[in-house]
């Protein structure tokens, strides 16, 4: 098992909280993390792993910080 920190922002927090430690099997992808959180993948605009962008089929590693955002903007 590996453990990652998941941080949620904007309305993803509703009913889910701001951050949590979660345990997954080795080889789990970001997509599967999103699914485990009961978030519709289509609503995820930005998924950062340790601050870096990338595809949702990336595999997560022990100790990763995963930040999930719906579309946000401003200026």
């Amino acid at each position: 098992m590996i453990e990652v920190e998941v941080r949620l922002f904007a309305y993803f927090r509703e009913g889910r909280g701001k951050k949590q430690l979660m345990k997954f099997q080795e080889g789990t992808t970001i997509s599967q993390v999103i699914e485990a959180l009961d978030i519709d993948e289509k609503e995820v605009s930005i998924a950062l792993v340790n601050g870096m962008d990338g595809s949702l089929d990336r595999e997560i590693k022990d100790g990763d910080i995963i930040a999930l955002f719906p579309p946000v903007g401003g200026g």
Partner: protein
């Protein structure tokens, strides 16, 4: 005249004369209006090298063809003058209700000249235009002067300066509707130097439309796009622009302690989510805006005031290492009342904190003020904002801005500024394209005239690799030209969270007539950008000023996800100049000026070529 009202007011404050001049429609259409029109007037009427705070400088307020028209986000106006902060062209934009109401008086623009021998304000009620005594208003804050003038002129809208503008602070803003600001470049000080306290407007006229039915249809279509867009119709209205705090921080791009760090574990304390949860009273939309990003918040003492934008939350917050929302809300309110630009004000306090940390500012310098300059001192940040606004004690020195402050200690590099204007809330070492905007922006360090954060972090209109240099110069150029279009037609740049170039063509043509297509409208933006560049070159501000602070190009980011990166400006600039059709020195070529219909300004190329 469709879209335009056809009249320009020329107000000479020295001899107290008011002239109504016809708007040259051909010129207006070529330069679109607002920003473009104002820059053109500055170029044609103000000679090179005038002192920005002298009678020779002009102070222009201009609307766009779509300002006040029945299309979304049409409440914008522009202030154009020569900046006392940067010495460049100043182009500052604001929303609220004043702009549309001014246009409803039947005028497109006002050109203020000279200087009043005592404080005055301008009152415009349709065709009745009067210069009135403002002696009783001098010294008043934005809400005080607005209340006083609204009592005198029922249902009028007020644009004004606060004490910071009166006292000529080069970071003074022009305020309207109490808490909306044409913030950057010290435009409030130019108004103050003219002894002009306020412009009060009350209008009953309508913008005439080329095709009323089409305008209605096009407008409904664009409102629908904005409402359905997840940012313009979701994130922005729900959380305000401060919704950015977390994404910018999680990406390692949030400047902390005057750009010494680029990430903080405490960011959520000052996020849009936290503001919404703990401080928000309600939303505060501008004229005809379906987005409604503006905030109304409750201060610690229960007072209800305009809330801070993302940039402000950062400047008084993370940049000073402060994570106290009550303090940030109060500093923001003080800036609105005294008429200070929130980015420059907060960033100047941050620079002062670094100067103190490094031993340049000594305890004895600030002892009499009873305020510290220690990182994270929230109470001191509020205290210094007040003293800056009133130029009290050491606040008098802070009111000159971070560049002049740091320079006075022999270390100008501690000022995180470009062309002496404080940089906003993104560390360009983690967003390479955005750094181009900082360096080349004609009004000095600023994010909004080419917001590369959109593609580099937010994924609008598509996602780019934020560390890559490839193609960034060309991308930035398009953003610069598109923003010049939006500023000049009189709409809000936040509408780009949903709308694209063809949408602006649709709206302009429905209101003004079938004049532009995608290509020619974007080219009009390019024309405006080049004319601003020529204005700066005429002032001797050439590409040697297209620089980032040393820290950003030499010192790698210290912490967070962008750790180890520097900004590669030297690699990006030649490409930017080249896609602009400028020579290696960053000077437009004759062919470029010809292509853009700027032949008449070729003579300034000779001057600027030394």
């Amino acid at each position: 005249m469709n879209g335009y009202m056809g009249k320009v007011l020329r107000v000479n404050l020295t001899d107290r004369t008011i002239k109504v001049e016809p708007l040259d429609l051909e010129v207006a259409q070529k330069y679109l209006g607002a920003r473009g029109l104002g820059v053109k007037i500055m170029m044609d009427e103000v000679p090179a090298n005038v002192d920005p705070l002298s009678e020779e400088n002009k102070f222009i307020i201009a609307t766009g063809a779509l300002t006040g028209a029945p299309v979304p986000t049409s409440g914008r106006y522009m202030v154009i003058t020569k900046s006392p902060l940067t010495g460049t062209i100043a182009i500052a934009n604001s929303g609220g209700y004043w702009g549309a109401n001014f246009k409803a008086t039947g005028h497109d623009a006002i050109i203020f000249e000279g200087r009043g021998d005592k404080p005055v304000y301008l009152y415009i009620e349709d065709d009745n235009v009067e210069i009135k005594d403002a002696s009783h208003l001098w010294g008043m804050t934005s809400s005080e002067v607005t209340e006083a003038l609204e009592k005198e002129h029922e249902k009028a809208k007020v644009l004004c300066i606060g004490p910071a503008g009166e006292m000529l602070s080069p970071m003074a803003a022009v305020m309207n509707d109490i808490d909306r600001a044409a913030g950057r470049g010290g435009v409030g000080a130019v108004m103050g130097s003219k002894n002009l306290k306020a412009v009060v407007v009350k209008g009953t006229k309508k913008v005439s439309l080329f095709d009323e039915e089409r305008t209605k249809k096009v407008s409904q279509e664009k409102i629908k796009i904005l409402r359905e867009d997840p940012v313009a119709g979701g994130g922005l209205p729900s959380y305000g622009s401060a919704v950015l705090v977390n994404i910018i921080n999680e990406s390692g791009v949030l400047p902390v302690r005057n750009f010494q760090q680029s990430y903080t574990e405490k960011a959520d304390l000052i996020s849009g989510e936290t503001m919404t949860e703990k401080h928000l009273v309600r939303k505060n939309p501008c004229y005809r805006c379906p987005i409604a990003c503006g905030r109304i918040v409750k201060l610690a003492d229960g007072t209800i005031v305009g809330g801070p934008e993302y940039e402000t939350v950062w400047s008084f917050g993370a940049d000073c290492d402060v994570y106290d929302y009550d303090a940030i809300n109060e500093a923001n309110m003080l800036c609105n009342e005294y008429g200070l630009d929130t980015i420059s004000a907060g960033a100047t306090i941050a620079a002062a904190m670094e100067l103190y940390e490094k031993g340049y500012i000594k305890d004895e310098d600030i002892e009499a003020d009873g305020l510290s300059l220690k990182w994270g001192d929230a109470e001191a940040v509020v205290g210094w904002t007040k003293k800056m606004g009133l130029r009290e004690g050491f606040g008098d020195k802070l009111a000159e801005g971070s560049y002049r402050l740091a320079e006075s200690y022999g270390v100008p590099e501690i000022s995180m500024s470009v062309k002496k204007q404080e940089l906003p809330a993104y560390d360009p070492r983690g967003v390479q394209g955005h750094g181009i905007t900082y360096a080349v922006n004609n009004r000095g360090g600023c994010h909004i005239k080419g917001y590369m954060i959109s593609p580099e972090i937010l994924g609008y209109p598509e996602k780019l690799d934020r560390f890559s240099l490839e193609g960034k110069a060309a991308y930035a150029k398009i953003f610069h030209d598109l923003t010049a279009v939006i500023d000049s037609i009189g709409l809000c740049v936040f509408s780009t969270f949903g709308l694209n170039l063809p949408d602006y063509v649709d709206m302009y043509n429905a209101v003004c007539g079938d004049i532009y297509n995608d290509e020619t409208l974007l080219e009009a933006g390019e024309r405006i950008w080049n004319l601003e560049k020529l204005f700066n070159l005429r002032e001797g501000i050439d590409s040697t000023h297209d620089k980032l602070p040393r820290r950003l190009v030499e010192e790698p980011v210290a912490n967070g996800p962008s750790k180890g990166h520097v900004h590669h400006l030297n690699e990006l600039l030649p490409e930017y100049y080249s896609v602009r059709g400028w020579d290696e020195e960053g000077i437009p070529t004759e062919e470029t000026l010809e292509r853009l219909g700027l032949e008449e300004y070729k003579k300034y190329l000779v001057l600027s070529n030394k």
